[in-house]
Amino acid sequence: MFNSLLKIEDLELSFKMYEGISTVLKKINMELNKGEKVALVGESGSGKSVTTKLILGLLNQKNVYKAGKIIFNQRDILNLSEKDFKKIRGNNISIIFQDPTAALNPVFKIKNQFHEVNLNYNNKISRKDSYVRSCNALEKVSIRDPERIMESYPFQLSGGLAQRVVITMAMINKPDLLLADEPSTALDVTVQNQALDLMDDLTSQTNTAVLLITHNMGVVRKFAEKVYVIYRGVIVEEGTKKQIFENPGHPYTIALLNSIPKLSGEGLPKHDDNPPDYALIPKYTHKSL
């Protein structure tokens, strides 16, 4: 257990709404070790993004009901106060969102946004030190002219470049855990590949664990070591990448893999018009290696 970084135990989440109570997560169990790259795969509405929000402590509204445990570094953070969470966010846990241009504030230059992240690292850092620290980090991700980037506003950067900046920002304080919520969905295939390579590279250097949220199985295969498949708030299958892709056990995982058009050009994927309720089929767990 020494190696365990994040452990989610029987996590439940529901929203109280006008129409009644909507249950989003139903007793989820997950585990991430230090430096491990884990993917959480599912379609829209399956509860994958709210899981990251819970880990970051961003769901504190009155109509939210939550139960279970999120143990991060041997400490339950599910019901932590906002003040304590501020110490964790950005330092120990950081996040990359789907749309890089929306994640950056359009009215501040990149250097000012970097400064704010650097203040998290050292709250007495001077503007000058902060500038140098950020430039060094940008140089490391093979951005050749960091000064130009630092003086730019987010809308002056291309999508790929903006995502590079966001990834750099998320990694500059060497967090223990990086949450990546669909980090490459808004990008083109070639740029997507570069962004994933960059994330892989940076997290390996600092031994940061990654929880990758995505619906793209191709991205999972490229990036992750361990995979959780989620369907309507239930984890339906977990296993290593090899197990999931070579020997998928749960009907939903099989349907997910089959629905992806293949490069071999054997025609469009077949689909089931009346699929069973996958959530009722018990979870499939592969033998641990």
Binding site: E43, V189, T190, V191, H215, N216, I260, L263, L268
Partner: protein, 260 residues
């Protein structure tokens, strides 16, 4: 069917001139499915917008059945070339029921008499696999896949010959995407349509299109039969593009071209 003859288009933003399209020549033949692929900013959507008459080209002309399309489309040309956009949530009017959304093109193009309007709308909905009870519903009560089906039904309403599909499935989940793609293929065969399929998802292209146009920085980089381009890509850019596709099977990895 559609001949694109030496089209160029540039945008001027402040003092920068952006050449969105440079001397594009393309012949779109009947009943084919053309895929236009390329990364953002390669000019694929600009090309679609010029075919549709949303933008006016700076140079060159577009011929439809041998006749030049003028600056302002005639109603007949608009009837025959229809459009399905990327995000169904933003293309359906949230204040109109599905019935009103589908009735509009039927009225404009005088497809049916007023008393047959409802039965025609039911027919359109049945083409895309939706129940007639959807007529009274509003877009926000529909899922993403259902909205995209309504958008396809609306495009079919005017009985077009050409459908321009601008990333029709990229806002959808893979399982829903598979359903919508199958639907599009069925409709194409049923109504003898010609498709211009704009996308950056190459694995979709491999399975639906028979002609492939690769665009890069406003120019056509490569053009040919889809299976030939995939098995033997000529330009470096196409090779990189095919190589970058995220795949799920090991057998697919072997099909990727080797990079120099």
């Amino acid at each position: 069917m559609i001949k694109i003859d030496n089209i160029s288009k540039k945008f001027i933003i402040k003092n920068n001139v952006i050449h969105a399209l440079q001397n594009i020549n393309l012949l779109i033949e009947e009943r084919d499915c053309y895929a236009i692929v390329g990364e953002s900013g390669s000019g694929k959507t600009t090309l679609a917008n010029i075919i549709l008459g949303i933008y006016k080209q700076d140079q060159g002309k577009i011929l439809f059945h041998g006749e030049e399309i003028k600056k302002y489309r005639t109603i007949k040309e608009r009837k025959l070339i229809q459009f399905v956009q990327q995000n169904p949530t933003s293309t359906l009017n949230p204040k109109k029921t599905i019935r009103d959304t589908l009735a509009l093109p039927l009225k404009i193009h005088n497809i049916v008499k007023k008393k047959n309007l409802d039965s025609k709308i039911k027919e359109l909905l049945s083409y895309v696999g939706l129940d007639s009870e959807f007529m009274i519903r509003y877009p926000d009560t529909l899922s993403g896949g259902q909205k995209q089906r309504v958008a396809i039904a609306r495009a079919l309403a005017s009985e077009p010959k050409v459908l321009i599909l601008d990333e029709p499935t990229s806002a959808l989940d893979v399982i829903v995407q598979a359903k919508v793609l199958n639907l599009l293929l069925d409709i194409k065969n049923k109504f003898n349509l010609t498709y211009v399929f704009i996308t950056h998802d190459l694995s979709v292209v491999r399975n639906i299109a028979n002609k492939l146009v690769v665009m890069n920085r406003g120019k056509i980089e490569e053009y040919g039969e889809t299976k030939d381009v995939f098995s033997n890509p000529q330009s470096q850019y196409t090779k990189e593009l095919i190589n970058a596709i995220p795949t799920v099977l090991e057998s697919e990895d072997k099909l990727k071209p080797k990079l120099d």
